[in-house]
Structure formats: C-alpha cells, structure tokens
Amino acid sequence: MPAIFQSALHPAGPQAASISHLWWLMFWTCSAVYVIVIAALLVAISRRRMDTRPSDGTLRTSVVTAAGITVVILFGLLFASVATGRAVASLGAAEALVIDITGHQWWWDVTYENPTPSLQVKTANELHIPVGRQIRIQLKSSDVIHSFWVPNLHGKMDLIPGRQNLLWLQADKPGVYRGQCAEYCGVQHANMALTVVAESSDDFERWIMAQRQPAPPPSTPEQQHGLQIVERGPCAMCHNVTGTVAGGRTAPDLTHVATRSTIAAGTAPNTRGYLAGWIADPQHMKPGAKMPSTGLSAEELQAVLAYLETLR
Amino acid sequence: MTPKAIDVSRLPAYAFGHRSIMWWGGASLMLMEGAMFAMLIVSYIYLKGRSPEWPPGYFAPVLFWGTLNTVVLLASALPNHFAKAAAERLDLRRLQLWMCVALVFGVGFVVIRVFEFRSLNVWWDSNAYGSVVWTLLGFHTLHLVTDVLDSAVLTALLFVGPLQESHFTDASENALYWYFVVITWLPVYAFIYLAPRLA
C-alpha cells in the first residue's frame, strides 16, 4: 500500500498538479510574510534603547509601506489563484469518458454512460479510469448533500439533490487513489469512501468488458444454495445481481462485487472474513448504515459468501 | 481648587427625533426588521429565478383585497402624522384623539388582511412559491399586529396611566414605527401581487 494514497500534495493528474503548484506558491509566500512580521514584532518588543524612539512620521511611512507591499503581494496571489482556476477548468473534450455518480447515504452509485444502454456498466464505490483520458463525472445525489473528493486527482465537488454538478478530471500516472465524501452527510459520513483505479487503457478496456458481463452461474452446490438465498432472501430486495432475479436498486450493485477492493464503501477490505462480519451484523461494522441484519444462519452465511466470491 | 463644571440641570428632560435615545432604539429595530424583510424578498427573487414559470402552477393572488389594504394603509399615514405632531407639541387631547383614529385604521387593516390571506390562491405547503408568499405576508402581518397592540397599550396609557414626558416621545416613536410598517408594505405588496403578473 503506498505511503500516502489520499493526499492533495501528491498530484496524479493535471488539475491536482496545478492546484499543488498554487499551494506551494501560497505556502512559501505566506511563510515568508509570517517570518518577517513576527521578526518585526520581536524586534519591536525587545528594543530597549528608548533614546532612538522613531518619530510618528517615520512610523507612518513604514506602516504605509508595509500596507502597500501587502496589497501588492495579495494582488499577486489573487492573480495566481484565478489563473490556476482558469487552468483547472480547461478540460472539456468531446470524446471524454462519461461517468454518472450518485451519492447515497453512505455509498457511491457509479454508472458508466454509453449511448447503447446494454453497454452501460453499473458498479459501486470503485471507479476504474484509463490513464491520460479526460473523464467527465456527472454528480447527483439521491438524498442529502455529499461531496466527491479524490485529492490526488482534483479538488472536491458537491453532489446536491435536485442539481447535477460536473467534475472534469484526468489521471496521468496509473495507481490506486482513495477518495472520501467531504460534506457531512449524516451518521456514517466517516465511512463513505471510494476507490479510483487509474490504469492503462488496455487494462481499462479489459475491466469494462468484464463488468458488462452478467454474473457467472454458480458451479458448486454450496454456491447454488448461496444464490437461492440471495434471490429469495432479503438481499434481492435492495441489491442487484445482473443475470439473476435479484434486481434491487436501492443498494450497491453486486454483479461483480468480488472484483472490488473494499466493502461497505471503504469501511473494510473485501476479504471473506470481513464480508462475513459485514453480512452477519452490518450495524456492528457500520452503525447506522442502511443495511439491516440479515439474520442468516451460519450455514446460510457461508453459502452466500461462497456465491459472492464467484461474482468476478 | 474646585474644578470647572458644565451645568446640565437646565437641559430639557426629553427630546424628539434623532435627539432622543428612543428614536435610535426604534431606528436600530427598524434596521433589523428591514434586514429580515430584505432577506425574505431576496429569497423570493432567488426562488423565482430557480423556477421556469412564475407563479409555478397557480393563479396569481387576487388584486382586490391587497390593493384595498394598500389604500387603507397609505390613508392611515394621515392620522399617524397628526398624532406624531400632537405628541411633539405635548398636546395630550389631540394626541389621544389621533391615536384612537390611527388605531381604528390599524384594526381595519388587520381585518382586511384576513381576506388577503384567503385570496392568495395558493397554500403555504403547496410549493416554495406558496411558502415564500405566505411567509412574506405573515411576517408583515406580525409587524402589523404588534404595532397595533403597541398603539393600543400606549393609547390606554395616555387615558388612564400616570402622565410622563416619555409617553409623548413613545407616541412619536410609535408613529415612526407605523410609517415603517407602511413603507415595508409597499415592496411586499409589489412582490406578492405584481411580480407574479409581470413574469
């Protein structure tokens, strides 16, 4: 796992890069100002030679000069900030990859747009994007205000009910970048993360092809039993598994859940153990989450896990 | 040596207009109330800007009662003016008279206001338009009622209460506040009754 994988200071795309340039400019300028002002203050209070008491005229000149310099510096920073804003907003290619993201309490619903509906891909809490290609992200919310933020790629943009916000971004180096909801959205705001996987366009094409497939049929009896529970049990009421009768729409799409790195919107790694804990008692891992306890028996649970692991 | 002194014993014990602290108290109050009206009107404009049609899905309010009320309100400025003048002349009898007349206007206004609410053609919970219209009208009504009550108490005081200079300044400030209620009504009227017709 990389040292810092959710950081505004490690840009992996043009926007994050120009913002971090602005940051360093501001940082050094402000540090210099701080040092100078505090130095002046310390000199002022440590002066003991009262005979060299400056005249009010001298003081006036120095204060006015300082104020003038401040104004000049601030105009510089203002210009830099607006110029950066212009650069950051410069994306907007027609052949961009269009992704719809809808915020829910507390997970991300992801749809890869495509003119032909059958080629659309639905997934949740994990995006794959091709390196070097512009991405047009269309942000909506189904309930309250959320905010989409992947600091290594770009600043944040809110998801506001009744509106659609646009966020253009682009990844320059392959890698896994974590993002997190940045607008307080209720009891589980802390556990509403998403993963962005930036990969070569070949890998991306391979991934999207796989995602377009329906769920593979279960092979072992245990897996078949698991599928039955998923279809007849409580799961299907909220979750969708394409290729089965499970067609719920109010919770993350599980068609290829086994390919994702985390569960419960970044609350835990996607391993059999955690998955078992999550299904057995969601309210323990993520108190207040919308997923109710399923009340499966141990044996049923194992079956479901066995089936879910086939959803690659 | 004994210090020099400024003798203020001969200064009057009351003053009118911006000399009196009551005036400034009233002015600050009006600043705040005015800011609230402004905020509600800004909200109205904002919601109007967000909506493709205005009024969205409903008929504009009926003009009659609101317009009638505007006339009554403007007319009420007259007795109000005389009351203020009488107060500043410390003329108790006339003050009592005009306060009563102004009070009648005020009550009449409140009564007509009831019909206004009934002629809005929309409910507060129908949509955002209904909400903001009802709130604007309700907020102005609140001021109306409080000022009418205020005048009533003051008038009662002028008849039965122990007489004080402050009653005259209070009456003068009360008159000023009534002007405020009159003046705030004009934009409120314009937005509730005219804006939907312009759109």
Partner: protein, 130 residues
Amino acid sequence: MPSSTSRPVSHERWRLAAVWAGLLAGPLAWLTLLEVNYLFAYVACEVQRTWFMHLATAAALIVVAAAGFAAWRASHGDMTTDETLTHPLSDETRMQRSRWMSLAGVAFSIWFIVVILAMEVPIVVLKECQ
C-alpha cells in the same frame, strides 16, 4: 484658530453631506458592484462578452473617486461657530472631528478604489463560462 469666520448654515450642510459621501460611497459602491458582477457573470456566459462588467467597474470607480474628492474638499475651509454650545472646547472639538471625518472619507475612498480594482482581476483572467 480660525473658528469665527461666519458662513451660511447651508455650507455646513454641504460639508456634512460631502463627509458622509466620502465614508459611505466606497463600501456601498463596492457591495453593489459585487452583487452586479455576480449576476453579470451569468449574462457574460450567455452573450460571451464582458465589456459591460468593465463598464460597471469604471462606474463604481468614478462614483468613489468623486466622493473621495468631495470629502477632501470638505477637509479644507473654516467652520462657523455655534453660540448655543455649552461645552468649553466645543468649537475646537467640532472642527477636529469634522476634519477627522473628512480625512477618513478620503482614506476610505482610496482604499475601496483598490478593492474595486481587485474585482477586475477575475474579469480579465477568466473565460466567460468558467
């Protein structure tokens, strides 16, 4: 101290008006410009033009400069005495205060001219629809 040169009261009124203009024109012009620019930003995106925004800035600048000049004028010239005053140093007090307010008006106008100029930066740098 040049306090007893008698002037008509209207002159004092003018001075007072000039002083308050100097104090209020700056902030009010700027606040108005801020709101106007905010609305014009949408218009600019539709018509792909920004000249009217520069115009608004210019108008604001002219207003503030004029007010500042008036305040500066007001800081000069004598003041009439007022015999009804009871305080020993009233005249001097009044004159100092009046001069101080005029100066404040001038300084305030200059400062808000700077702020209004800062509002130009986005108009110059940004594209209409960003």
